[in-house]
Each structure stands twice: as C-alpha cells, then as structure tokens.
C-alpha cells in the first residue's frame, strides 16, 4: 500500500543523482589536490615535464568540478 503511494521514479532519480554528484564532486576535487600536490613535488624534484602533466590533470579536474557545480546550480534555478 505504502509502496504504491510512493513515486519510485522520482525517488530513484534523487538516489542516482545524489550518488553521481556526491561521489563525483569528492573524486574530482581529490584529483585537483592530487594533481596540485604531485605537480609541486615534481617541480621541486626538477622534472618540469611531469610537473606540467600533473598541473594539467589538476586543471582538467577543477574544470570538470566547476562545470558540475554550475550544471547543478543551473538545474536548480531553471527547474
């Protein structure tokens, strides 16, 4: 009876969006920190190539993180 009353479609939507966004935000920001930390280490160790690669990884991850946040914000204000 209770199960019939629940809109399972909306509930599943909340579950998968929360899972994707929650894990995605944390994973992407962790990649930003990882890239930044390793880029610093590589620069100090005199490996400019590796430093550039890690800095690029950090930038890409931050761009994806920012895009996710903006997308979520847009979905909120237009929905």
């Amino acid at each position: 009876m209770i199960v019939l009353a629940v809109d399972t479609h909306l509930l599943w939507q909340v579950i998968w969006v929360s899972l994707l966004a929650g894990v995605g935000i944390s994973a992407l920001f962790s990649l930003v920190i990882l890239g930044g930390a390793r880029a610093g280490d590589a620069r100090r160790a005199g490996r400019p190539g590796a430093a550039a690669v890690y800095a690029g990884l950090a930038l890409l991850a931050f761009a994806a993180f920012a895009a996710g946040v903006i997308l979520g914000f847009r979905a909120m204000i237009t929905g």
């Binding site: 509930l11 969006v17 929650g22 935000i25």
Partner: protein, 243 residues
C-alpha cells in the same frame, strides 16, 4: 497537518501525499547521505593515497569554502521554501491571495533574510555538534560530507521533496566517519543528548565565578558531573575548552 486534522478532520489530510512527499524522503535521505558520504570519502582517500598530509589538508580546507557554499545554497533551496510555503498557505487561508497566485516578493525576501540571519547568529552550538561531537573530522571528511549533503538536498529539492537538512548532513558526516572507522562515530551521542534534553553534552565546566556560563542544562550538567570520574572530566575540560 495537525491544524488541518483538528480543524477539518482526517479527510483534510492527504495520507498518500504525506507518505509520498514527506515520510519516505525523510527516511531515505539521511540513509542515502550516509551511504554516499561513505563511498565518497573512500574514493577520495583512494585517490589521495599517500600524499603528504599538509598540502592535502590545505587543499580540502580551501575546497570546504566551495562545498560549504554549496551546502548553504542547498539549505536555502529546501528549508526557505518550506517557510515560504507556510506563509503562502496562511495568506491564501486568510483570503489575501488567490491559491494560484505567485509567491509575493516580500515573502521570498523575508524568508531568505530570516534563514540567513538565523544561520548567522544562532549556529555555533550546532556547528560544534556537527563538527566535533559526531566524529573527529578531517578536512577531507568535511569536504565530502558537505558535498554529499549538498548533492542530496539539491536533488531532492529539484523533484520537490522537502527534507531535514540537519538529518541529511548528520547522515553524511556519520557516513564519512564510519567509512574511515566504524568506531570513530559517536553513535550514542544523539541518543544521549535527546535523553537528557540537552543539546551540549558533554558540557563545558563553568569557570569559577562565571555565572554567564549557566544554561538551561545546568542541572543535567551538574548531575552528570557528579556521576563522572575526575579523569573523565579533566579530559572533557581539555576537549571542550572548559577552564
């Protein structure tokens, strides 16, 4: 619900709407935040691996500015709407507004101002409870909990589910703590505090000659103090900044 039930009887309350829009989301959301919070922090720790803790903590501390802003935004999108809904309902019931009218701008502005002001002036006890009395949180856990809390609340707000932001963020904090170590979570804390009717246990000891530290929970504090061993209280004093 209570006022409608008393005024109009059981027919005035839509049981299916209560279950569908209130009860189920209220039960699911904290559990969802717990699970997603645990998964998020496990993945974050896995990615960070064995990096030096200093830069990692600094990075996540910076990230917490963003995640806290997101959480504040999501808090407003859910909690302020509930306040506005009640004011709107009162205006419609009074005949001041048509049921299909838009929410007046003054309602939006006053609800936003009230929630911002309340957050600004009254939050320290809640902040302390969330930040240090459920788990001993590191910046990565704080970032993950705030991000997950914001994601759950925003997703629920988008489909029109009203939630308790407190329960969602508590679930996320417990999830990030339990994923690291199950015993790191003070599972009994909420039960202990609600049993005592006290929102700040273990309490800071009042300093000598300082009546300003008294609170409605003074009696509970003193009786707890009398039951507690001296070593326990020395530890409590250090932890909670008592004198």
């Amino acid at each position: 619900m209570g006022s409608a039930f008393v005024a109009e009887g059981s027919n005035a309350v839509f049981g299916s709407g209560v279950v569908d829009k209130v009860v189920v989301p209220a039960l699911v959301a904290p559990l969802l935040a717990f699970l997603v919070g645990g998964l998020a922090i496990l993945i974050a720790y896995r990615i960070i691996g064995r990096q030096r803790p200093g830069p990692v903590a600094r990075g996540f501390r910076l990230g917490q500015v963003l995640s806290a802003s997101l959480l504040a935004l999501s808090h407003g999108t859910n909690d302020a709407q509930k306040t506005m809904g009640i004011i709107f309902l009162a205006l419609v019931a009074n005949g001041s507004l048509a049921p299909d009218a838009d929410v007046p701008a003054w309602v939006v502005i006053s609800a936003a101002a009230a929630i911002a002001l309340g957050t600004y002036v009254g939050g320290w006890r809640i902040i302390r409870t969330m930040g240090s009395r459920i788990i001993k949180m590191d910046p990565a856990q704080g970032f993950a909990a705030q991000g997950v809390g914001a994601a759950v609340i925003m997703a629920a707000s988008h489909v029109g589910f009203p939630l308790s932001t407190t329960h969602v963020i508590s679930g996320a904090i417990m999830g990030t703590g339990a994923a690291k170590r199950v015993s790191a979570v003070r599972w009994a804390w909420p039960a202990t505090s609600s049993r005592r009717g006290c929102s700040h246990f273990p309490p800071p000891l009042p300093s000598a000659g300082s009546p300003t530290r008294s609170s409605p929970c003074s009696a509970a504090r003193m009786s707890a103090r009398s039951r507690c061993r001296p070593r326990c209280w020395r530890r409590s004093r250090r932890r909670w900044g008592g004198v």
